[in-house]
């Protein structure tokens, strides 16, 4: 199928009535068109996952959150290396890849994961993540659909943001997204509690979450609610 026809088919699935693109449809159409179990779109900056603008189901939300918590996974690799990343058989990964992410992703039901960088020209924004509850690679057709969807999604993200007031994230990106702002609030609190920099505070928070096998945002919630203090742990 020529690329133009593929793009047209995917755009027509996205727009429905009129040219306004719904953020949630970006993920839904990505999953539907490629026959995957679910999809998520992660925004990245400075090689760090910043949050997801959409996910299609519980498992894809968990997969995004895992990568946000751990700072590793297919979306991070796809973004950093600026090329598609495929792991069609997570349970039998040929190379040791994503030591923390892989077992956790298997636990939420992913057997195969694929990630495609979102870029417009030389500009990189994040990645489109697909997961499947059965192992197996993408066909050429599925791969081509995913590439076009990543391209369309990248342009859609930029266009949605173009209409936002300066300095604020577009409400369309925020609405169905998950940016775990509580993690940054908790980092600020920990920086004061331990008298360290914000960057160090975030490292401490991640280390605690990882060591206790808990989601970063869940730990951050407790810090902000003042039911958990890392300085008390440090003093133990």
């Amino acid at each position: 199928m020529p690329d133009g026809e593929r793009r047209l088919r995917l755009i027509s699935l996205l727009v429905g009535h009129g040219p306004d693109i719904q953020t949630s449809r970006l993920c839904e159409v990505s999953a539907e068109a490629t026959g995957m179990s679910g999809a998520g779109i992660m925004l990245m900056s400075e090689d760090v996952p910043r949050g997801s603008i959409c996910t299609t189901d519980e498992a894809s939300a968990r997969i995004e959150e895992l990568q946000f918590t751990l700072g590793e996974g297919p979306s991070v690799d796809a973004y950093v290396q600026d090329r598609p990343v495929a792991e069609p058989h997570l349970a039998r990964a040929s190379r040791p890849r994503w030591l923390a992410f892989t077992p956790a992703a298997l636990e939420v039901g992913a057997q195969a994961v694929f990630s495609f960088p979102l870029h417009v020209g030389a500009v990189r924004l994040g990645s489109l993540n697909l997961y499947c509850d059965r192992p197996g690679g993408l066909t050429d057709d599925q791969h081509a659909d995913a590439l076009v969807m990543a391209d369309v999604a990248a342009q859609a993200v930029l266009l949605l943001q173009a209409n936002a007031p300066p300095g604020t994230l577009a409400k369309e990106l925020e609405a169905g997204g998950e940016f775990h702002y509580v993690v940054h609030q908790a980092s600020g609190m920990i920086a004061v509690q331990l008298d360290i920099s914000i960057a160090r505070a975030l490292i401490q928070l991640r280390a605690y979450a990882f060591a206790n096998d808990r989601p970063l945002a869940g730990v951050a919630d407790e810090i902000v609610a003042r039911t958990l203090r890392l300085d008390e742990l440090a003093a133990d």
Binding site: V15, L43, V120, Q161, A162, S187, G188
Partner: protein
């Protein structure tokens, strides 16, 4: 070529032109030519609103159509302007009965050989960014399926314009995105610092920062940056600031 096949071919041509660098005027001109072939109209023209809020003729299927569209803009009356101003389609207006509606445009359009006129809005997020004019030489009415096909072409043109914008402004738009993402993170971090130092909850910390910024006409993100790098003395924060309104 059957009409459905021609319509499909047009969509494919337009979609192909979205792929890489493309000249948006070329795409829109292609669209007007295809409207003539696919929809069986005599002429088609496309106007877009510029940043100054005024409509401009972007593409026309013929030179005669271009001249008539320029006249429409100059006289500030006609189907494209009505469509743009109301955001609603102008359908099947017989020029024989339109002299009162458009006293200057109507005789000009009749002299150019047209009889029936239509205009479809190019819509985006509830805003109208332009209009597609379709002119017939006979009094035949456009069927509902033709109007739908024309509106679909107008929507594809809208996406073409948008994708073009994303491609040429990618660098700037991406910087805006990163500023927004990073700015929000800085504000959340500063809230955490203020909450901990001043024994406030997150909401109170936010109001304290926001009201401080507002009262001194500072950007919230700049105040937040000062909190994080230590250049802003937190004792300057008024406890009465930690309320919804200052």
């Amino acid at each position: 070529m059957p009409r459905e096949a021609m319509l499909t071919r047009t969509f494919v041509e337009l979609a192909d032109s979205l792929v890489a660098d493309f000249d948006v005027v070329d795409v829109l001109t292609l669209l007007t030519s295809r409207c003539v072939e696919v929809l069986g109209v005599a002429a088609a023209g496309l106007m877009l609103v510029g940043i100054d809020g005024n409509l401009r003729v972007m593409a026309s299927s013929s030179e005669g159509m271009r001249v008539l569209e320029l006249f429409e803009l100059q006289s500030q009356q006609g189907p494209c302007l009505d469509c743009y101003q109301t955001g609603l389609p102008v359908s099947n207006v017989d020029l024989a009965t339109a002299r009162r509606r458009w006293p200057r445009f109507t005789p000009e359009a009749i002299a150019a050989g047209f009889r029936t006129v239509h205009a479809l809005p190019m819509r985006l997020r509830g805003n109208v960014i332009g209009a597609l004019n379709l002119f017939h030489q006979d009094p035949d009415e456009m069927e509902e399926s033709d109007v739908e096909a024309a509106q679909a072409l107008a929507d594809v043109a809208t996406i073409a314009i948008l994708q073009h914008r994303a491609a040429i402004e990618a660098q700037v738009l991406n910087e805006q995105l990163h500023l927004a993402l990073n700015g929000r993170i800085i504000i959340e971090q500063a809230k955490g610092i203020v909450a901990e130092r001043r024994h406030l909850n997150m909401e109170e910390a936010f109001y304290a920062l926001r009201n401080h910024a507002r009262n001194r006409r500072l950007m919230l993100v700049d105040v937040a940056n000062g909190v994080i790098d230590g250049s802003f003395d937190l004792s300057e924060l008024d406890s009465s600031d930690a309320q919804p309104a200052s």
